[in-house]
């Protein structure tokens, strides 16, 4: 059997290793999450250059190692990193996406082709500024959770399937809940927010792009709560996502904290 294999991959994150090497965490198309060593990548004369930087989509050749594989060749398919790293909001948004992808594909070498395609598509939308960054992030988070088996429900009641629209939202229950199933302390978002969440999950961009800021903020808060409830831990980068857009730098209230504070 050949000891080398080739695959497409998104670079999720990198860790420095030793003097000039790095461990790159890749989400590959065919074999899920793979951690591989890129030798000498931190040297200015490295043949890899910026190809193995986070957010890039690459065509890599890997050599099977005992504990970690070794990257032998890498070619860029889509250099998303370039436009993402030049904009602080895009960078923090993309970081939250790759951290989620890393968490959802934690079992190494378990194929996760759908997660790969979803992440590659979301990074492209972000890099090309196809839609507002927070919408791309929330849509990605909802769909990634759905692929992983935690699909939320925004129309019918998540518990008894009674057709909606409903007025209450509960992350532990799995989305919208009807008056009868509603647990104490459930959030009560606006009707437009439910419509926006449904559009983000379905990928209905015509509806999502028309939404206004207030509902976007509210849905971001709900998505953050839903995500962290089902992942059963905090997403470290979500707190740092810069949702202020390009012009302003003032700190807005973290939506996750605001919602959790209200329901607790």
């Amino acid at each position: 059997m050949s000891r080398t294999y080739r695959d497409e991959a998104v670079v999720l994150r990198t860790h420095d290793l030793g003097e000039a090497d790095r461990i790159v965490t890749l989400l590959t198309r065919g074999s899920g999450q793979v951690r591989a060593v890129a030798k000498g990548v931190r040297r200015t004369s490295s043949k890899f250059g910026a190809r193995l930087e986070p957010f890039g989509v690459v065509d890599v050749q890997l050599h099977l190692g005992r504990s970690l594989d070794v990257v032998t060749q890498a070619d860029t398919l889509a250099p998303h990193g370039r436009s993402i790293m030049a904009d602080y909001s895009l960078f923090t948004t993309a970081t939250a996406m790759v951290e989620t992808a890393a968490r959802l594909t934690e079992v190494e070498r378990e194929p996760a082709t759908q997660q790969y395609l979803l992440l590659a598509g979301a990074l492209r939308a972000l890099a090309e500024r196809a839609h507002a960054a927070t919408l791309v992030l929330d849509s990605y988070l909802l769909r990634a959770l759905a692929v992983a088996g935690w699909a939320p429900s925004f129309a019918e009641c998540a518990r008894c399937s009674r057709p909606g629209p409903h007025r209450a939202f509960s992350a532990p229950m799995g989305g919208a809940v009807c008056g009868g199933c509603r647990p104490p302390g459930a959030a009560a978002p606006a009707e437009e927010t439910f419509a926006l969440l449904g559009a983000l999950l379905a990928g209905d961009w015509a509806v999502a792009d028309r939404s206004d800021d207030r509902h976007r903020r509210e849905s971001s808060g709900l998505v953050a709560v839903y995500l962290q409830w089902h992942l059963e831990r905090q997403l470290r980068s979500l707190r740092h996502v810069d949702r202020t857009g390009a012009a302003r730098v003032d700190r807005t209230l973290d939506p996750a904290v605001a919602i959790i504070g209200r329901t607790a």
Binding site: R13, T14, G18, E19, T44, S45, K47, F48, G49, A50, R51, E53, P54, F55, T76, P79, G81, R82, I84, M85, A86, D87, Y88, F91, T92, T95, A96, V98, E99, R236, S237, R239, H240, V241, A246, V249
Partner: protein, 202 residues
């Protein structure tokens, strides 16, 4: 590994093994090297370790390593006060000093923004930089963070933050490494090299 030895040797191997890049085998090798050297040499090493923790601290102004309140560069009156070069680590100050190109002051951030590791803008010495700029003496801030995704994002954050303060914000150029081959340059580097091309005057 260290369990096979007793007492002091085991302790030494365990402590050495905690250093970066030192595995169990290397720790064992260093420990036996120390055992076989003169007591004077070992005392010098032990003294150097204790002295470095006792004497070295961080410069109150720029955050570089220093042996007094201010580092040697901040205390030097001959340096240009109007330029500040922002770097990630004290090691980067040394790298830039070696070029002898820059005669201004430095500011060490202590890392780069890296949300996955929980490092946000508030964890870096950005507030201290703003305080230094408030006096109005500085006319140019040169951002010299690493040319990787985290360093570039930190540069983007700083340029947005400093944009309204009336100082010129510049970034170190990136492009083709001297001594390399064009065909091996990656798309991002080559693209940046094109953007930053310079006119050749006859």
């Amino acid at each position: 590994m260290s369990a096979a030895y007793e007492g002091a040797v085991a302790d030494l191997i365990a402590e050495l093994g905690r250093l970066p890049g030192v595995g169990p085998k290397s720790a064992q090798r260093i420990a036996f090297h120390i055992l076989s050297t003169d007591s004077d040499d070992v005392a010098r090493l032990a003294d150097a370790l204790i002295q470095v923790k006792a004497r070295v601290r961080f410069c109150a102004i720029c955050g570089n390593v220093a042996e007094s309140e201010q580092c040697r560069i901040c205390a030097d009156p001959r340096r240009n006060d109007t330029q500040i070069c922002v770097v990630e680590e004290p090691r980067d100050v040394v790298a830039i000093e070696r070029t002898r190109e820059f005669r201004g002051r430095y500011h060490v951030l202590g890392g780069a923004i890296n949300p996955i590791d929980g490092v946000g803008p508030d964890d870096l010495r950005i507030r201290e930089l703003m305080t230094r700029l408030a006096s109005g003496v500085v006319t140019e801030v040169i951002i010299a963070t690493d040319p990787n995704v985290e360093g570039e994002a930190t540069a983007a954050y700083l340029s947005r933050l400093l944009g309204s303060m009336g100082v010129a914000v510049t970034r170190l150029a990136s492009g083709l490494p001297v001594g390399g081959d064009l065909e091996y340059a990656d798309e991002i580097t080559l693209g940046r090299a094109f953007e930053g091309r310079v006119r050749l005057d006859a």
